[in-house]
């Protein structure tokens, strides 16, 4: 077994000391000289024609430096998937939701900018709005976008195998419909940005983004700038979870106003604007038909899904594909049919959120499998063990499992939770439930069609040889990617972690598609490792030449040069290093082993600055059908979970008592960070299962755009989790690593649903399980004879 010095440990995060002392810099902590403050005018109506925009009053206000509307921008449409660029920086002909962007102002201070907004006079002609999928799909309904009939913005139809004839041969076929609610990602830091256009025509945007690369491309496209003149820099980001994974109108407005004024322009969302911008989890309505044999073999799945998308597409094309393709695993399923429809409504646009597209499909199916297990008299754990995939399996939709620790996960939660002793034996009001999960480890393809690398990394060695500096454009948003890459670099080169510096989140540092689809550890990890190998090889090549030994005789371990068979005289090199650094502290002397630091300095003298370069893009991935690009990944994570709940049978209040979770992350680069992702995912899943719903009034206005009424779990709601790390050693992951950041949320909702059924005998087909919903169901059950 390989032993490691740095990876697989519990090394404290590199950014934690600065975050603990308040010295870590987030976007709103930055102030530039001469900076202006911007604010955005949002539509107050869900659907209306814009007849006229009069900005004269705003422009006359003292202190106002720029007022911009669609007249100041080209009408270049943008979005996330090129297949559906359906957004304009500012609305031209009409507004499509309460919150749609109409104009922006930059002024000497925020108060003046906000006052100026009130002086912009917009004449609207209100149009009938569609606020639910039912309304939007109705015959003759008003259209959100004229070119999409019945408001269906996108649809997907897939069939693998032959579902109808497979269902005909099943012993049991069940159909259930499951309905979730629109969510907010509720990261604690609202989005913010500062745009700074300099005298030479170079634009720097600092932004709280998950994807500097995509933001750079979108800004360049919309504002008509060469990519090389747009730099996007990400400071520390206070959580993202999906909605920060694409360019937003605020960023573009700030850039536009900075270009017009020649001054830096700062803008930030209020908490209400976070809700208005949304781009978080869609509402999903899944109707699933599953057929099984008497022995529990899952034979066929028919999945029909409607997604409420809001006014624009955002990530929705990917979402709609994921809502189908991710049920291809982790069970052996030969026949699968999917029909997905994404429906436009006059509400804020939905997009990606942790577990993108797959969370509700998973919740619906894992609850249905629990029902099926009961009907055929099989333990739900056994049903899953019987059907699960293993390494080497390929799903019916061509997802290839190169590693899959599904069995280990299921057995770990079964044994770790006391499942056998508890299932079916808990008193009324107490319940236990289990479910599994499955997710990609990085999207196999970029969002735009391209052969681009997904990550490039460079590592520079300091001239004294003491420090290596990793440069990556990847996005540390709180998940711990910086620490993971520094650990990978340290391990690969063979030096201690505290000799590694990392700078990230800047488009000048390379190409990196960013923090989404659980891709950073695997993809940027690969590129980091390759760059580290390059550094190591360059330095060892110089050592081999200088010392006249074969390079295979040399190794680097714990910051020291190792001569595998000893007996190498390096005194000449040491003397040379000391001459270079006369009087410095901490320099090895005499018979001390030769250090990496000395070797790196000698290498520098021979070759100039030592820079290692690494890159990554996935190998050719399977899948030839249309849409195969969504769901294919170099690797797949999987998980299993057991949840115990107690339900107050009088009030309907659910308390989650205990959670046992096992996740196959391939290999834990940092064990503490892996557990943190598991615990955080479970917390978000718990909130979605029990509390979270963005609510609207009949005019399309959000009723609860704040963290008081949109309730996320507090420290009193979230129980302790027993996190079990399963390591299946993914052959295509760096050191065997794959995802944990999103897949871990997958089993939580269904495990809670199944536990609530165990406690109450009631199956809930609609989220969230608020006390009111549970109380009404308990009452209805009591009244039934």
């Amino acid at each position: 077994m390989t032993t490691y010095s740095t990876v697989n440990s519990r090394a404290p995060r590199l950014d934690a000391p600065d975050k603990a002392t308040g010295s870590a810099v987030y976007i709103d902590d930055i102030r530039l000289p001469g900076m202006l403050f911007g604010a955005m005018l949002h539509s107050p109506l869900a659907h209306a024609k814009i007849l006229n925009i009069d900005t004269r009053g705003a422009k006359r206000l003292s202190g106002v430096k720029s007022v911009v509307t669609y007249e100041d921008t080209g009408l270049i449409k943008y979005g996330v998937s090129p297949a559906r660029y359906d957004e304009l920086l500012f609305c031209d002909g009409k507004v499509r939701y309460v919150g749609d962007e109409v104009a922006a102002v930059a002024a000497v201070d925020l108060e003046t900018a906000v006052e100026a907004l009130s002086l912009i006079n917009v004449e609207y002609e209100e149009l009938p709005a569609v606020l639910t999928m039912e309304e939007a799909l109705a015959e003759g309904a008003p259209l959100v976008h004229d070119e999409y009939q019945r408001n269906i913005g996108a649809e997907v139809h897939h069939e693998f195998g032959d579902v109808e004839s497979a269902l005909a041969q099943c012993d049991l076929v069940r159909t259930d419909t499951f309905r979730s609610k629109r969510q907010d990602a509720a990261f604690i830091e609202p989005q913010g940005c500062i745009a700074d256009y300099d005298g030479r025509g170079y634009l720097t945007l600092r932004s709280s983004t998950q994807t500097p690369h995509y933001v750079q491309r979108t800004i360049a496209m919309v504002l008509g700038l060469p990519i090389g003149k747009v730099r996007v820099v990400k400071p520390y980001v206070g959580g993202g979870f999906g909605p920060k994974a694409a360019a937003n109108a605020m960023e573009m407005a700030a850039c536009l106003m900075s270009m017009k004024t020649g001054k830096p322009v700062k803008m930030g969302f209020t908490r209400e604007e976070v809700f208005l911008h949304s781009r978080a989890r869609h509402q999903f309505v899944h109707t699933l038909t599953t057929g099984v044999k008497k022995d529990g073999t899952i034979v066929a799945l028919k999945n029909e899904c409607y997604l409420e998308g809001g006014a624009y597409t955002s990530f929705g094309i990917a979402t709609i594909y994921y809502a189908g393709s991710l049920l291809g695993g982790p069970y052996r399923l030969q026949n699968m049919k999917y029909d997905g429809y994404r429906v436009y409504t006059n509400k804020p646009a939905c997009g990606a959120q942790r577990g993108h597209g797959g969370v509700i499909a998973r919740a619906a199916w894992e609850q249905q499998l629990d029902r099926i297990a009961e009907e055929i008299g099989m333990d739900p754990v056994e049903l899953r063990l019987k059907n699960m995939m293993e390494a080497g399996d390929v799903s019916c939709n061509e997802l290839k499992m190169n590693s899959l620790g599904m069995r280990e996960c299921i057995e770990a939660v079964r044994d770790g939770s006391g499942w056998k002793e508890k299932k079916g034996r808990l008193p009324k009001g107490k319940g236990i439930g289990m479910a599994c999960g499955f997710f990609v480890s990085g999207a196999g393809f970029p969002i735009y069609r391209s052969d681009t690398y997904h990550a490039t990394v460079s590592i520079h060695v300091s001239e004294d040889g003491g420090t290596v500096h990793v440069y990556t454009a990847s996005a540390e948003i709180g998940q711990g990617s910086d620490t993971a890459f520094a650990m990978i670099a340290a391990e690969t080169i063979g030096i201690p972690l505290d000799s590694v510096m990392i700078s990230s989140g800047d488009t000048e540092f390379g190409i990196d598609l960013g923090a989404y689809s659980s891709r950073q550890t695997l993809m940027t990890g690969h590129a980091t490792k390759e760059a580290a190998v390059d550094v190591r090889n360059q330095i060892l090549a110089v050592m081999a030449r200088e010392l006249k030994v074969d390079i295979s005789e040399l190794d680097i371990k714990d910051g020291l040069i190792v001569f595998k068979h000893g007996g190498v005289d390096f005194s000449r090199l040491r003397a040379r290093y000391i001459r270079e650094h006369r009087g410095w502290q901490g320099i090895a002397r005499g018979n001390d082993p030769l250090t990496f630091q000395e070797a790196a300095r000698i290498a520098y003298l021979a070759r100039g600055t030592i820079i290692g370069r690494g890159k990554y893009k996935p190998a050719e991935l399977g899948g030839s059908h249309k849409g195969a690009a969504v769901g294919t990944s170099p690797a797949y994570g999987c998980s299993a979970q057991v949840v115990e709940v107690s339900v107050d049978m009088e009030t309907g209040r659910i308390t989650v008592e205990k959670m046992t979770d096992a996740h196959d992350c391939g290999f834990a680069i940092n064990r503490t960070s892996v557990e943190g992702q598991m615990q955080g995912s479970l917390s978000m899943g718990l909130g979605e299962a029990l509390y979270e719903e963005v609510k609207f009034d009949e005019k399309g206005r959000i009723l609860n755009p704040n963290l008081g009424e949109y309730k996320i779990p507090t420290s009193l709601d979230m129980p302790n989790v027993n996190p079990i790390i399963v390591e299946s050693h993914e052959p295509y992951g760096p050191f065997g690593a794959k995802e944990v950041g999103e897949g871990a949320i997958m089993p939580t909702i269904p495990a809670i649903l199944n536990a609530v059924y165990d406690a109450t005998g009631i199956r809930f087909q609609e989220l969230p399980l608020t006390p009111e919903r549970v109380f009404m169901a308990l009452r209805a059950k009591k009244q039934k004879p």
Binding site: R13, K19, T21, G22, D29, F187, G480
Partner: protein, 156 residues
């Protein structure tokens, strides 16, 4: 019309002229440039702007700067000691209690306030004391573990 206020922040006396509608969080962040205090909702709901006002944790977005006239305030910048990280900060670092870090300053101050009053709190007491500080990243568990791990002997 600005009003003069006098207050002590992290042991340093400040005299300043502030607008009557200036909130304490904005005063600390933008006037004193103590940006360790975070602003997540501006409505007293998330707790990331928690500071200690005359010995009590408050949401500084719900306090006007003029209301803090004559008071003593501790922000996260006041917790680090000359010897380095405060034991609670050290525990947050070592236990993996910090992910995005945006809630951490408020969370650490709220936890420190608890430890001042209740040196050996139960898990329930910690969870109650921190229930006004939202965290979306960690699921709270490693935060609770960090607070539990602090040896009261180490608290200055």
């Amino acid at each position: 019309m600005k009003t003069m206020i006098n207050l002590t922040v992290n042991g340093t006396k400040h005299e300043a002229a502030v607008e009557p509608n200036r909130t304490l969080v904005d005063f600390l962040r933008y006037d004193l440039e103590l940006t360790g205090t975070k602003k997540g909702c501006d409505m007293g709901e998330c707790g990331s702007c928690t500071v200690i006002l005359n010995g009590k944790p408050v949401n500084s977005c719900l306090v006007l700067a003029v209301q803090a006239n004559g008071s003593e305030i501790m922000t996260i910048e006041g917790l680090k000691t000359a010897e380095g990280l405060h034991p609670l900060q050290k525990a947050f670092v070592e236990k993996g209690a910090i992910q995005c870090g945006f809630c951490s300053p408020g969370m650490i101050l709220a936890a420190n306030n608890l430890l001042q009053k209740t040196p050996t709190p139960t898990e329930e007491e910690i969870r109650t004391a921190l229930s006004g500080n939202l965290c979306r990243c960690t699921g709270y568990q490693k935060i609770i573990e960090a607070v539990m791990s602090v040896d009261k002997q180490d608290i200055p």
